[in-house]
Amino acid sequence: MIIKEYQVKRLFKKEGVPILKGRVAYLPKEAEEIAMDIGGKAWVVKAQVAAENRSVSRFAELKADGPMGICWANTPQMVAALADQMLGRHLMTPDSLTGHEVKQVYVEEACFGQAEYKLSLRIDFLSQQLVLSVYTAGNIMRQYEMDDYKMTAVRMKTIIQHLGLKGEKAAEMQALLRHLMALFKTYEAVAVEFDPVWETAKGLVVLDGRIVFNDDALFRLPEILAFREVETGQERQAIARKHQCRYTKLKGNIACLVNGIGLSQATVDLINQNGGSVACLLDMGTEPSKDAVTRALKLALSDPDVDGVFVNLFGGVTRCDIIVQGLLSAAGEILAGLPIVVRMDGTNANIGRRLLFESRLPFVVVKDMVEGVREIVKQVKGGTYV
């Protein structure tokens, strides 16, 4: 999970990281007042969405020459005008089809100085350990492997030497490195970044940054969990998440219900390789319960982009006959008329298939994965995307 900038800054402030003066606003008038309150000659207005690349993304409702997600303002009135354009609109960042609704803007004092550094501390899944990357102005990057998970004095000294810093600057950098590690540990982060760090008259200042959280650790970080809000258009994801189901929205018109991440990805591959495209993928976990199956099927059928459903399940310890009971519990929705192709194998698959047949509901039962994929692609032909 990633959170919005003003939330990240709240955590930075609490840790003592040097940041610029700024506050969050929900209304244009508020934004203007904040600008006057902060003072100075210029301000930056930033759309608050939990996504990357805000400064190069535009709004769905505004023309191509409209503002980007991060804008400069020379007067408090301009701050208000920009806030008015941003609030309630959708910022089209590259990770989203429909854009993210902007519910707040962050108004910050403009910064005069020079971009100098970027610091990034993250769990590197390639080397399976902690890696610190330090970028300098010329985009020169040095990496440090931190296999002991400690920001030791020796390590900080090495980094500072590499950067060629002395005296006060060295002390400031050392403090930043300490803050980086402290944030990483306190919030059990996957990654913490100070990006960019500017050299100003007041010393080193962190202009922006991000913390990537590990969803599996949030159960013991209630403070962070409280930041999670349901975005408009993301309601299905939120419902799925509550029930330990992984919901991914894609561009096509076939819904896929699968158990297990590997089988899910393989199913999407097969559909792509056979000329179809996936509207949404619901991974119910390796061993789904009966209820999980019912909920997933209802969610899939409630997606307006869906023209057909492909159920690809492999019963391991969870028996296929139990899975079928889950499918049948969504009978009301099934009768709504979308084609549902079912492929199931593994434990008690024969009993499962017989139950489906006896239900007299319009399931198309196939013998293997490829046949199922070809069948569903055929069934949804003439749909909106094929």
Binding site: P94, D95, S96, L97, I123, F125, L126, S127, Q128, Q129, L130, D147, D148, Y149, K185, E188, V190, A191, V212, N214, D216, A217, F219, R220, R246, T248, L250, K251, V258, N259, G260, I261, G262, L263, S264, Q265, A266, T267, V268, D269, L270, N272, Q273, L281, G285, T286, F314, G315, G316, V317, D345, G346, T347, D368, M369, V370
Partner: protein, 292 residues
Amino acid sequence: MFKLPTQNTPILCQGITTEMGAIHVERSLAYGTRIVAATSRDKSIKTYQGIPIFTSVKEAVRKTKPSVSVIFSTPARALQDVEEAIKAKIPMIICTTEHVPLHDILKMMTQARKYGVTLIGPSSTGIVRVEECLAGCIPAHLFPKGNVGIIGCSSSLVYEAVQQLAEAGLGVSACVSLGASRLVGTSFVPVMEAFLKDKNTKAVLVIGQLAGNLETELAEFYQKVRRKKPLVVYIPGQTLSGAMHVPLLGTDMAVPQKIIAEKRSVLERAGGVWVSVASDLGKVVADNLKNT
């Protein structure tokens, strides 16, 4: 060092009174597995089907000397349970718990290295030596006996592969699940070494994942192997691309195509076989076994 368990391997089960623990110990016993001891936080239960139950791993190790521990735990307690097993120096620890926080996994991995024990998982479904022993929660009844060794990250896709092997008239010697977590205690290489030594294994099928570097590491190792056994690798998610798929990939990379192409070329240069279509798994393995 990683060793494939056999029917004689003494196994400990940590967390026998958890819901999953009880189910899977029952299934493992029925499969003929030699479970010598179990642990539980519940002090009132002393034995289960003749297996002594202890309250501490240390005591269980002193009295029964297990060489493998299978752990059933919750995400919040997994670190504590794994650490207990590591400190008792059990040579191989299989952690079946899903959704363990990453920082806890980092701690487990460091500890395991320090004490020189093998950690499998977390989120491993375990190891099955077909018709000999079942350590974990693999649906072993679906695995016909044969001579293909399987190493997998994802579990349901492994079962799919086994089904395809069975349809091609093949079976499995042993299957090792490394876990679908982004950080895992054991990589493909040590398991591959064990399969190369195992006389019942004639070919190895690897179900990899987009994240991480494990497949490349395996290919580099395989290149140096002199007496090769056919190695077939499949990675799901080969057609995914772009930022949209990032949540699905469970990783922070946006260009899987490049990673896939790299992993494929390294593997093929090393003499391994790449599978592009998930439904061809059984067929490709069968073709490569024929050539040996």
